[in-house]
């Protein structure tokens, strides 16, 4: 437990660094001469007609996110299996091969449905 307590205290120390510099040190020394034009979003020089929040973005980003969840969970399942791999022997190998085979069916289905290709 003590090892994890060190992590927690280190996190507290580390978070004080950006807070101190950004909110206490920097306002004392930095220049600040803001005006309305300067605070506009950086775009093209003329006043922007729309905000980024008004626009929608490609559904492919969501598909990538969903696929990532599937494969990352797979990786999480693989980790404990890999550590006990030598002890589990052939039984464990066949078990994991079955799991991966089921997953690969989904993978090739996604590939066939052109989820993986961007254009």
């Amino acid at each position: 437990m003590a090892n994890y307590a060190v992590l927690l205290v280190a996190a507290l120390i580390v978070i004080s660094l950006p807070v101190l510099t950004l909110f206490i040190l920097a306002p004392l020394v930095r220049a600040s001469r803001a005006n309305k034009v300067k605070l506009e979003p950086y775009e093209c020089g003329v006043p922007a007609t729309s905000h980024a929040f008004d626009h929608r973005f490609s559904v492919r980003y969501f598909l990538i996110a969903v696929l990532f969840i599937i494969f990352d969970v797979e990786t999480v399942f693989l980790f404990p299996w890999a550590i006990r791999f030598k002890q589990l022997g052939w039984f464990g190998a066949v078990e994991m091969a079955t799991f991966l085979a089921i997953l690969l069916i989904g993978y090739f289905y996604a590939w066939k449905r052109k989820v993986l290709s961007w254009v």
Binding site: P18, V29, K36, E40, F68, T75, F85, W90, S117, W118
Partner: protein
């Protein structure tokens, strides 16, 4: 000794020392990178501030501090401030978990799930980028943030899968155990050559470095997710990015290149040998570790100077259609070979048959790939010199 001293104060002092050294390396990397890029491109690089431009390391943070801090009026304020500050914390406390030299003196803490914790902490880096990119309320930032998130998330998968092969050989999530295993067998880069390659490519993509620096493709997206960030907040993004690079190099060295040891089959500078030399031995181990890590940092710079940028669909294809199947095949082959050919004892000495087979198979795969790439094509496209285009 007082348990408070032993378990909290000493580790924290060690953490602060490591933290300061990492900060210096990160600040110095900025200068080293520009200088080395200059040398590669036959120009000088920053050489005005101090001898060889070395004081640039100090001048940059001062400039960051004095610069005007612009917060766009349309930004989502809380998320806008959290964006650069959130990824700093995991990027820095990861250094608690990395053993820089023989433990317990040269590692801050030691947990038996160190690798899992490091992976968990480093993968939170994507939150800062997507928060910052979204909260800026700028079209370039939003697109840069989305691209960056999709890219980091895509390469997270092969990144994790490439480690599985190493875990199968070493049987532990403890980096100290993995390093000791390598000192007593062989560096994992030999039996896990393909995994090391996948790990290296994915760690380049994870850190948004050339050739995978699409989120910052300046010709299309200005500066990507940090377009609207200036002064200290921009510096925080840079700090987090370079710290993440350093962490990934430390992981690469610990997982595949024997960490602080310099030994094969138990001969050479193993942990026991270094420990028998006392404090100086530990220091020597740390120096070996740092040299290996800095070699990989140099390779990052070399890559940046050498490779052109990928297109976004090529990047996604490489991640999903090549890296993931390759990593799965690597796991499959490693599993079969390790089970079918366990270590044999011939004349009293341990012969790692499985690892030898894996090393030979990996080398053969690389040789075959190189041959297929380098092979002259039967119908080579006709090359026309630029000055004669009008004639062709």
């Amino acid at each position: 000794m007082n348990p408070w001293m032993l378990y909290l104060v000493w580790p924290l002092i060690k953490f602060l020392i490591a933290f300061v050294i990492v900060q210096v390396i990160v600040a110095a990397m900025n200068w080293i990178e520009r200088r080395v890029l200059g040398l590669i491109q036959a120009r000088l690089g920053p050489n005005r501030v101090g001898p060889w431009g070395l004081l640039q390391i100090v001048a940059d943070p001062i400039k960051f501090l004095l610069k005007e801090d612009i917060v766009p009026s349309s930004a989502e304020k809380i998320a806008y401030f959290l964006g650069p500050m959130l990824p700093l914390v995991p990027a820095f406390i990861v250094f608690c978990l990395i053993p820089f030299g023989p433990p317990p003196t040269f590692a801050v803490t030691h947990t038996n799930v160190g690798l899992l914790l490091i992976l968990a902490l480093t993968s939170t880096g994507v939150y800062g980028i997507i928060l910052g990119g979204w909260a800026s309320n700028n079209k370039y930032s939003l697109m840069g943030g989305l691209r960056s998130a999709a890219q980091m998330v895509s390469y997270e998968v092969p990144f994790g899968l490439s480690i599985v092969g190493v875990l199968m050989l070493c049987g532990s999530l403890d980096l100290v155990h993995i390093i000791n295993y390598q000192a007593h067998h062989v560096w994992n880069v030999f039996p896990q050559l393909i995994a090391a390659f996948i790990f290296f490519v994915s760690m380049n993509a994870e850190n948004n470095r050339t050739p995978f620096d699409l989120p910052e493709a300046e010709s299309e997206l200005v500066a990507g997710y940090h377009t609207e960030y200036s002064a200290m907040k921009f510096a925080f993004f840079m700090l987090a990015e370079y710290s993440a690079m350093l962490v990934n190099c430390c992981l690469m060295v610990s997982l595949f290149l024997g960490g602080w040891t310099l030994a094969i089959g138990g001969y050479g500078l193993t942990t026991a040998t270094l420990k028998s030399m006392g404090f100086m031995g530990g220091l020597l181990g740390t120096v070996i570790f740092v040299v290996k890590v800095m070699t990989f940092m140099m390779i990052y710079i070399w890559f940046r100077a050498t490779f052109p940028r990928f297109r976004f669909d090529q990047l996604m294809d490489l991640g999903w259609k090549w890296m993931i199947p390759l990593a799965l095949i690597n796991i499959f082959v490693t599993g079969i070979v390790v089970l079918a050919a366990p270590e044999m004892i011939i004349n009293g000495s341990v012969v790692p048959v499985g690892e030898t087979i894996l090393a030979v198979a990996g080398a053969a795969t690389v040789a075959l790939t190189l041959f297929l790439i380098m092979k002259p094509r039967a119908h080579a496209p006709k090359v026309i010199h630029a000055s004669r285009v009008s004639e062709a």
